[in-house]
């Protein structure tokens, strides 16, 4: 058991923190920061941040140098993510590229693919989005109906994807499509790399319940792509996709934990400003107990995160136990939203800029409702734990 960071790692943390403080635009990450209304402008700002990260040497921290990465370990990666979390720095626009596609290509991609796609991804030149879910294939991903057929040495894709984050900003999309109708559902799927400027692609934004427009529907109408844009082999896409989802469920929880800690501190501040019978809510034992319990869980999330990193470092991969982390943080965050609204009391309905806390607690309440759904619902994570970790019969 050794949970400390060594001297070199602590130096790295210092370096990262200084760089972040010097490079984050003023007010960014505070509830007071005003994003432009225009989506294109918003995309430009985020992409600029990705480019800055690359120039600063903070893109692909744990990826090999030969593909534009920094050749460091998951420890430095996590240190940077923690520091970025502490400053509430947005994740950039290429989250899905860095979090999902990159690790997937490193594991399943050909050498050509790695050389072709990883450096521009890290540079912020090519932004990625994820084309997995479909209207009738959410939890049941194997039910996808989007098809790809080989026509004259080109794959021709037809179908519809949903919940495609950042599709309206993306240059590329990694897409699951059915390539064999005869095989069982899990066996006839292939993982494709599709340029978003291909003819036949239409993107329609999906507004979320918190008013954000990060998600999209993407329609593929006879979209034709080169034969070689396949990762992990034809009809082997299910295995590749499961690897991708594993990354989604298991990693980056430490950065997330710091963000939750940040939200918690804001919650404390708000609880101090609200009074009940002349006393700050923060001094009322009911709210103190609720907040303390929440704080304990945020810390435990950190412990889980450290364990995950340790596992990655020492064993090189994550098991189905990673579902625990997704289940833990998403349900904890829903609870956090609930407690936030309890603290706000009669101030709860007001979410404008002039409201208490500028609506940041309500945003937790709304946003967290999506978190227990995307990247595998709470129900799916529990199935995975019961069946694959505890070995209960299917």
């Amino acid at each position: 058991m050794d949970l400390s960071f060594n001297e070199k790692q602590e130096e790295y943390r210092q370096h990262a923190r200084e760089w972040l403080i010097n490079n984050i635009p003023e007010g960014w990450g505070t509830p007071e920061f005003e994003w432009p209304d225009d989506e294109v402008e918003r995309g430009r700002i985020l992409r600029d941040w990705d480019r800055k990260l690359y120039e600063g040497g903070f893109a692909g921290i744990a990826w090999p140098k030969e593909y534009g990465g920094q050749g460091l370990t998951h420890v430095e990666d996590i240190i940077f993510n923690e520091e970025a979390g502490k400053l509430n720095a947005p994740g950039g626009i290429n989250v899905l590229g860095k979090l999902l596609l990159g690790p997937t290509l490193l594991l399943f991609g050909t050498e050509d693919q790695k050389q072709r796609f990883l450096p521009p991804l890290l540079r912020g030149d090519e932004v990625w989005c994820q084309g997995f879910s479909e209207p009738n294939a959410g939890s049941d991903l194997a039910a996808i109906q989007t098809r790809a057929e080989l026509v004259d040495d080109k794959w021709v894709i037809n179908g519809q994807k949903v919940w495609t984050s950042f599709a309206h900003h993306a240059d590329w999309c990694f897409v699951l499509a059915r390539t064999d109708q005869e095989l069982p559902p899990h066996k006839g799927i292939t993982f494709f790399l599709v340029p978003m400027d291909s003819e036949g692609i239409t993107v329609r934004p999906l507004v979320q319940i918190n008013g954000n427009r990060d998600f999209n529907e993407v329609f593929f109408d006879h979209v034709s792509i080169p034969k070689e844009n396949v990762v992990g082999g034809v009809n082997n896409g299910w295995k590749v996709a499961m690897g991708t989802l594993g990354f989604e469920r298991g990693t980056l929880a430490l950065g997330r934990q710091v963000r939750f800690q940040n939200e918690f501190n804001t919650m404390v501040k708000i609880s101090e400003s609200l009074k009940k019978n002349g006393e700050s809510i923060s001094q009322n034992s009911y709210y103190r107990q609720k907040m303390a319990e929440l704080f304990a869980e945020i810390r435990i999330l950190r412990y889980h995160g450290l364990k995950t990193i340790s596992q990655l470092l020492n064993e090189g991969k994550l098991g189905p136990e990673a579902s625990l982390q997704k289940l833990f943080w998403s349900t904890m965050h829903v609870n956090m939203g609930k407690i936030g609204l309890e603290i706000l009391g009669e101030e709860g309905p007001y979410i404008g800029k002039e409201s208490v806390g500028r609506g940041v607690l309500q945003e937790i309440d709304f946003g967290s409702r999506g978190e227990t759904i995307y990247a595998g619902t709470t129900q799916i994570q529990k199935n995975i734990i019961a069946e694959r970790v505890l070995g209960m019969p299917r």
Binding site: S133, N136, A137, G138, S139, D140, A143, V162, W163, L206, V207, Q208, I209, G211, F215, K276, Y286, V334, L341, E342, L344, G345, E346, E347, G348, P349, Y350, I351, G352, K353, E354, S355, Q362, D365, F366, R369, G370, T372, I373, Y374, T377, T378, Q379, K382
Partner: protein
Amino acid sequence: MFFGFNDEEKMLRRSVRDMFKNKNTPEHVRAFMKEQTIPPGLHKLLADQGLLGIIDLNGSQDRKGMVNAILVAQEAGRFLLTYPLLESMVGLAALKTCSKQAEVASEIESGEKVLTVAWTSVDAKARRSENGYVIDGTLREVPFAKDADVILANVRILGMGQTPNEEETLVLIDPKNPNLVIRDANSMDLTYPLYEVSLLNYPLNESAVVNRMGMGAGHQLMEQMLKIGALLLSAEIVGCAERTLYDTVEYTKQRKQFGKLIGSFQALKHMAADMYLKVESGKSAIEYAAWAVDTDNEDADLAISIAKSYTSSNGVQVCGDAIQMHGGIGYTWENDMHLFFKRARRSAAVLGDSYYHRENIAKVAIDGIEGKREVGSKKPIVVEV
């Protein structure tokens, strides 16, 4: 002993439900969310059905109309009614206690004027000036103020009592008066907008006073309005929760994943069963409270706090579970689940949140219980319930 609704009450519910179904459709709600203007004709419709003046605080035969009122409020929640019906019902009940205000009451009841209530007064005070009284200060939590013709508000008239409470006086505010500013308060619930009204040198005519100035009358009446309002809000929350439960159950009977209707998964069945338990418990709570108010039962205040605290916690949770059970589609703006969730959230927060009403309960259940067993006593003790 009859814990249920009679034919008349059931008929009322059916006719209100049919009306909202046709006249307050999801399309109407979505249009309202953009315009934030009460659709033309809606007041008239509600007035014609006799819904606005349904509560009578001096009701004869031990009936104040609360059982009817919760039935109507439940339907308002179920259909996300975009009208201050709750404020009309409660406000009219208050206005009718004052014979001076019979004319404006009848204009409201007949649908000529829209009434709303300022639920919170932030230090709104009337002071004497050259030509009578003028009011300065801010009114908060005023639903639909932008569309209202009359705002019923509680302000302090300085000098009209020994204590701030005694000075409180119910007055009618004219939202079209130039000496006030109405500001959208940016509430999460776009189906039921809240406004803030700031008054500066607003001239208070004596004819705008309900009952009389000060001497505790306004305070007392407002207390009563807040209680009845809290009960009606509980009914709205129950309506939201019930609607989302049954819509969700319906969805699980249509949607397939893994080759099966998702409603056949036990995890979703048990979530739905928990939701049902919360909805039915909320219904029992509001129905009992309405009966208690109607019959002047000594239990009435306690029953209201039970209803409001229970529905505020549990009704919101039902709406949240409904989002979860819908999966990704439930998290989209296009789907209606979030509208119910936010409406329930808003209703849970105002007129006393769960904490407030549980503290009310504690005062009775903990500080004031009768027949508490003395530890060590062997005497039989009768527990009053």
